[in-house]
Symmetry: C2
Subunit: 440 residues, 2 copies
């Protein structure tokens, strides 16, 4: 019987553990069935440097509409949020679908093969449910399907404007009333091929303490991912301590939220005790460095969290930047600015955060490596661009030099989503000039 | 008599003062001879968003060979410097020319139309002069010419390994022995069309206090730019105070270095007195944010310097990143990380820093604006890319969303250096989805 597998020959590849020159990979039913160093033979040849697909673990697709439009004047996270709410108020299921599909296409073209969509825009403008109460969520699932990206829909419980305050303004679109009603609605959503339904607690501001366990239990029963915005702003910490005498990390620990299926998003302003709680539970720390820069959130304790036991993951969040390479290196570069030392994170650790750790946190532990049995995601980088030429071809060149614009082809679950484009620029000359120096 | 001017019609342009839709520009002998809002007529049409050319005010061209190759292990500025010195030891006039030409081509393709090359790699490996003692400088001038970028060659005086220490190792290639010999050698270099010879004091570490006035005087007599690496590291400040009882800013003020033709490069770790000295003199503050991130230098007091009277300029320095847009926004984004507030720098101020202020600091006060009489530099951005689509078309979209990969055509002094490339991606769909929300 003839195999239906398709074989490609990768000129050079980072498999997840090591860099290999000349790798034959065969793909069948969306998975790698062969990965081995080999001669090209008659396989289709993929030039450049191929890496596993990246996981975008924290996305608000609709924020893409804000890029370039929120930079006027002074302000803080909170004034930015007013502008974001203005967009949230305008979206319909149709326009949400179109915006999300386009945004997910941008993500795939940048090398992301999976997205965790932190979705709370559930209802109509007046707060009443659509005829199908999951119409907005289904718009996102359809957008991801049509853009060819895997999605973990983190259906988000959002019930309050703040500690002891009912939803205000556009927030009526977010609220299901209580966590039971949230859980009941989410029952109408089904996981499927390349599509997983998970849960999110928006934040300790937006979900009253006594409601949180319902969401946690929903996720526990289904072994589903559970994400939470955590301590992005010191104001949230202050209000939480004032209301409950506990930090947000402590409050969520009491509710049973933390563990290996959980992701603490941002995790910027933590106490040593918070870090210990998150680390000991194996909760993922999902940093969104380009957004945290843009919003002036601060620099989260990524290395301390890693040391304590929290695997790092990454998200594009506000879509100010959609570039997994920029996201990876920003973790290290921001640490350098904060400490005046280099070398907090090795490139190998950052690409693991961007790939395998991220996919695992989204409920796809079988993605993010080029190995037999894994989901067949491939990101082919053009190493001949002005940006990449001469950078040496080590994993550090991927993490510290590549940009989204260097991505040429992207495969998700065995299917090519982004095709070949020839954008070769001044790179050939750069490469020649630099190789002459290093090898001369 | 028929005019030899060529006319282009810009769909949308930032002239330096305002955003205008539909601008006819005529170019003759390398300058704009007409700039006015008009209908397209039969002029060649430049779609997208056109901005003035950017000035890269601090470049070490040869550092481009290090991109992606210096990220292993821990370390600091000083361990990075060891790797940089390894490259410096290998360069010949031929390989320096080839590397610089390629690097300058990358710069032009990213939107830079002028470069300030801080050049100190003067002599042979054993410290003896080449037959033509300016052979290395001439390699750089030829490289810039052949790449089509204007150059201000900041010929750099570098005499010592540190306070009271003679040159060590590869530094013998840098040293002319004393400032008089430096000045004599530099006399062999001539300014010309699109080429200006200026001076640099490498740093207070590398030029003994009593030698600095000779370099300052050389620049004063010629009304030439004078650049200095200033207080990039606290170790330099400490050593300077220990040796001389003065900060580097104070020492250089005593030597008469500061003034409107001067640029203080980095200016990271300054006292309030230093900021007052630099500002009162009108000295430019040349920040290199992407390099300062990479090296863990810290975040310089850009806004305080601006307020004190020092115009901001920008440089790509180590070539870890060659992207004028990233450089502009990094100034603001790093301030946000440091302060947790947004809005330190307006987009209009940042693009002025990246263009007109930069060119002025390099001795080209007639560049950086699209106006009659100015040097005809144009950078045409594709606003249909995945990165730029839907960003609104204001100057903030240029500063906060554009990347080097969005640049399609670049004109320097009336000549097209970078041509049209069609890299349209998923942008059309993004734009449609977003405009529907904002305009619907």
């Amino acid at each position: 019987m003839v195999s239906a597998a398709t074989t490609y020959w990768l000129e050079r590849a980072w498999t997840g553990d090591r860099m290999v020159d000349g790798v034959a990979v065969s793909v069948e039913d969306g998975r790698f069935v062969r990965v081995e160093q080999a001669l090209p033979g008659d396989a289709e040849r993929l030039a450049g440097l191929t890496v596993p697909g990246f996981a975008n673990c924290h996305s608000h697709a609709f924020h893409r509409a804000l890029r370039g439009r929120t930079q006027a004047g002074r302000g803080s996270f909170w004034t930015w949020r007013e502008q974001m709410y203005a967009v949230a108020g305008r979206l319909t299921p149709d326009s949400y679908y179109a915006l999300a599909r386009a945004t997910y296409r941008e993500m795939v073209s940048a090398g992301y093969t999976g997205v965790g969509e932190f979705h709370y825009l559930h209802h109509q403008g007046d707060g009443t449910a659509y005829d199908d109460p999951n119409q907005m969520a289904k718009a996102l699932l359809a957008a991801a399907h049509d853009a060819g990206i895997r999605i973990t829909l983190l259906d988000t419980c959002y019930l309050a404007a703040g500690f002891g305050r009912p939803p205000e303004g556009v927030q009526v679109r977010y609220s299901d009333g209580d966590a039971e009603a949230w859980a009941k609605r989410v029952e109408g959503l089904a996981s499927g091929d390349g599509r997983l339904v998970g849960a999110a607690v928006h934040s300790v501001r937006a979900v009253p303490r006594e409601q949180i366990p319902t969401v946690v239990e929903w996720a526990d029963v289904r072994r589903a991912p559970l994400h939470v915005h955590l301590s992005e702003q010191t104001a949230e910490n202050d209000a939480c301590i004032a209301a409950h005498g506990a930090t947000p990390s402590e409050l969520l620990a009491d509710a049973g939220a933390w563990g290996p299926r959980a992701s603490a998003v941002h995790a910027t302003h933590l106490t040593e005790g918070d870090i210990a709680l998150l680390g000991a539970s194996g909760t993922h720390a999902c940093l969104c460095p380009t957004t945290e820069r843009d919003l002036g959130d601060g620099i989260g304790p990524s290395r301390e969290l890693h040391t304590a036991g929290s695997p790092l993951t990454l998200g594009s969040d506000s879509q100010a930047v959609v570039d997994p390479f920029e996201e990876m290196r920003a973790v290290e570069l921001d640490e350098r600015l904060a400490t005046r030392e280099r070398g907090h994170w090795a490139a190998e650790e950052l690409i693991a955060a961007g790939t395998v750790q991220g996919h695992r946190s989204l409920g796809f532990p079988d993605a993010g490596r080029i190995e037999v049995g894994a989901r067949a995601d491939l990101v082919v980088l053009d190493t001949a661009t002005a940006t990449m030429a001469g950078t040496g071809g080590d994993v550090a060149s991927v993490v510290f030099a590549a940009t989204a614009a260097d991505v040429r082809r992207v495969m998700v679950d065995g299917r090519w989503v982004v095709g070949v484009e020839d954008r070769a620029q001044v790179g050939a000359e750069l490469r020649a000039a630099i190789e002459r120096i290093w090898e001369g």
